[in-house]
């Protein structure tokens, strides 16, 4: 009788992840029974494989920011790396919906995956060394990504790179400098500019503000929210900072030893956590 008639026009699904998992090592039949939060480990005691992530399932809609929180080693980066094709998952599916098409990500061939990664996904890595080419300038990093899409006119590329750097508040006079000359916050902003170069509908952010000064963190969080609102970009934000989760994410997954132990609306996760582990995590952050 209820929940019948609600109109939800904003619910354009961008991503549908089901049963995603990643095991490092050969694995054995006991890996999943003997790891996880109840066993206090992600290492299988029988075969020594690492169950980095197991059975992740979630949906992501247009304009939504999904938070993934959890302590070090819980599998947060593993999840986004699998989605960005950095690491092939051991099992599970992910379907990406884009411009009327549905892409079954792990059934695509390498060329198709590369194309999505270059044009429709953006990634900001925890470590800028992974996200930036340190042998070319800030502007060159953005140009590289644009060249891999469809822009090839030098003037246009330079123009777009300038716009992006201005948008992310990197002094455009410095666009011809190498990233190694930049502070951590600036490198992160160049990474964001690079990730945004093709206006991707899906943005993956791995600890995007970790290790930065508070004022720089503020500027970056601000930028991310602006992008979400203006472009409707769907994002997954991985972080162990509950403050960042509270500000950015509408919904949040909590991970421990490779498993999602709880998920919900972010304010609910922070104010009425159900799982003992989350209760402890939230209490200790107050």
């Amino acid at each position: 009788m209820v929940n019948d008639n609600i109109s939800t026009p904003t619910l354009d699904k961008v991503l549908e992840v089901r049963g995603l998992g990643k095991v490092y090592g050969n694995g054995c039949p006991h890996c999943f029974d003997l790891t996880g939060p109840e066993h206090d480990t992600n290492i299988c005691p029988r075969c020594g494989s690492v169950v980095a992530a197991h059975n992740l399932s979630f949906d992501l809609c247009r304009g939504e920011i999904l938070g993934i929180m959890g302590e070090s080693g819980s599998g947060k980066s593993t999840a986004v790396k699998a989605l960005y094709f950095d690491e092939a998952p051991t099992c599970g599916t992910a379907v990406f919906y884009d411009q009327g098409n549905a892409y079954d990500l792990y059934a695509l061939n390498a060329a198709q995956q590369r194309q999505l990664r270059n044009q429709r996904f953006g990634m900001v890595y925890q470590n800028p060394v992974l996200g930036l080419n340190f042998n070319v300038s800030a502007g060159g990093n953005i140009a590289e990504r644009l060249l891999m899409s469809n822009l090839s006119h030098y003037g246009e590329i330079r123009q777009r790179a300038t716009t992006l750097l201005r948008r992310t508040e990197v002094l455009t006079q410095r666009m011809d400098e190498l990233p190694k000359n930049f502070s951590g916050g600036m490198q992160q902003r160049v990474q964001i500019a690079k990730a945004l170069a093709t206006n991707p509908p899906l943005l993956l952010l791995d600890e995007v503000t970790t290790g930065l000064d508070l004022s720089v963190q503020a500027a970056i969080l601000d930028l991310i929210m602006e992008i979400q609102q203006e472009l409707g970009t769907a994002m997954i934000a991985v972080t162990h900072d509950l403050g960042v989760i509270r500000l950015l994410a509408g919904r949040t997954l909590v991970m421990k030893y490779g498993r999602v132990i709880e998920s919900g609306l972010t304010d609910q996760i922070l104010e009425d956590p159900q799982h003992a582990y989350t209760q402890r995590l939230v209490a200790s952050a107050l």
Partner: protein
């Protein structure tokens, strides 16, 4: 004025399970109430009666333990918020259901004006228009103009409360939850709030509110619901937990 409630809370209960302390803490027990379009229902009761819990329960900041939270949508459909999925709740929060609390979580560099205009931004209102409306309501709530362009992060309790109210009221939601919205305001600003709430009621918003003063209940409430502390917690707030 419609006789159909915009919100029916039926037999709502909430018990917190605190794993670390090995405790369960009943907070609301068998609450029933209605909110109607264009009217204000006031929640009253002693400390520990679970007034704020009920509001947070309706907003789904707290997961319900049992009961129904039946919300009537603009097109006449009904949603049980207690079982709706998270995306539905987020969509309703964006367009339909507002909550003014005493807490303010804002982005670090965001100006007060933008904080207040945010719900309008999110609905796609043009930024200039939204900001003009934000300034207008900040003016009405007597927030000094020199504060409009800066972040509310360092504001006093009373200033923050005005920002919260400005944002919640400007959004003109169909259902508005208010948790002691005037607790740290001076009488003149409180009068302005009363005025603005009356305007919202005229516009058809249904309100469910907790006020710190009986005088405000008197001035604003069309119906009053009294909550009692759930059984077994009578002593909890007297510092003599059994």
């Amino acid at each position: 004025m419609s006789d159909q409630p915009i919100l029916e809370v039926r037999d709502y209960s909430k018990t917190f399970v605190l794993h670390e302390q090995g405790k369960t803490l009943p907070s609301s027990s068998h609450v029933n109430l209605n909110v109607y379009p264009g009217r204000l229902t006031a929640l009253i009761g002693p400390t520990g009666a679970g007034k704020s819990t009920v509001l947070k329960g309706i907003y789904l900041t707290y997961l319900p333990s049992s009961g129904q939270l039946l919300y009537r949508t603009a097109n006449g459909g009904r949603v049980d918020l207690a079982t709706a999925d998270e995306h539905q709740i987020l969509a309703l929060r964006q367009r339909d259901i507002g909550f003014v609390t005493q807490f303010l979580h804002t982005l670090p560099r965001q100006s007060t004006e933008d904080v207040v205009a945010m719900p309008l931004f999110q609905r796609g209102v043009e930024r200039g228009t939204a900001r003009a409306q934000a300034r207008d309501i900040l003016q009405r709530l007597n927030l000094p103009e020199r504060l409009w362009g800066v972040s509310p992060a360092t504001f006093s309790g009373g200033e923050r409360q005005r920002v919260n109210l400005a944002r919640g009221l400007l959004a003109k939601p169909r259902l508005l939850l208010l948790d002691e919205p005037t607790a740290s305001l001076d009488p003149k600003t409180t009068d302005r709030v009363v005025e603005l709430i009356a305007e919202l009621k005229q516009g058809g918003t249904g309100l469910l509110a907790i006020f710190h003063s009986p005088a405000l209940v008197e001035r604003l409430a069309d119906a009053v619901v009294e909550l009692a502390p759930p059984p077994g917690t009578e002593h909890f707030f007297e510092g003599t937990t059994p």
